[in-house]
Symmetry: C2
Subunit: 159 residues, 2 copies
Amino acid sequence: MGPGSGDLVRLDPMAIALDEARSAGRSGEVPVGACVVHAGQVLARAGNAMRSTHDPTAHAEMRVIREAAARLGNERLNGCDLYVTLEPCAMCAAAISFARLRRVYYGAADPKGGAVESGPRYFNLPTCHHVPEIYGGIRATDAAELLRGFFGQRRAGGT
Amino acid sequence: MGPGSGDLVRLDPMAIALDEARSAGRSGEVPVGACVVHAGQVLARAGNAMRSTHDPTAHAEMRVIREAAARLGNERLNGCDLYVTLEPCAMCAAAISFARLRRVYYGAADPKGGAVESGPRYFNLPTCHHVPEIYGGIRATDAAELLRGFFGQRRAGGT
């Protein structure tokens, strides 16, 4: 491995997603973050922004999918991988399928709102046309700890 | 009914949604259209725009939900009703729930991609927190005819 290729080797997309989650939490959003990676490059990174943008669809996954597609000028993110700190919900799971993402890496499971291993288990439906490779539980403890901290503070009247 | 109230009485939101579907079809998009109505006023109207905007999430429903929320400055569309020419998919059904729409009126059923009476039947899931009133089959023949015409033309090499 020669010099100059170091950035590629050090790319840690889930750390980027966790940074975005932390940043979202500081803005009063539920702390979930995501990024889209293509050929070793980060195409898009974002956290939840439903409150700040007054957009109920502005989940971290939706934001990075939309931005990555805009950057590529293509509604299909062929060969792209999504990293997200929380199990995607049904809205995001369907968007992942529509965008033809290659792989999805997610952190904490979400028994209440998730749609991958929980709820409708979207990618297992016979009507789901594109199923990415899926890897759950990536740095799940860090992701879950952020969420627990956020909701604990809210219950304590912090927000 | 006195003069001046005529506009309210004549509001036909599904006709507006069908107009948007036709317009989308003319642009090479799958012809689906939608609008959001609040207090007798159309807050947002749009058709599918996945191809033209390079956005896999740009279903008609998503576009009108986002625009209506932006106009109201609120991620929750309390008291708002959605009209859409085709049964919503899982992405849009979840967005409808997140947006707290009051009622959903849709046209044609979509056994392949729908998520209301078909597939995951999103609003019947125990994890779905907000369930709107739902009315299907509204001008379903008109909506289905638009889709049949579009796909018939595509099969014939028209697109």
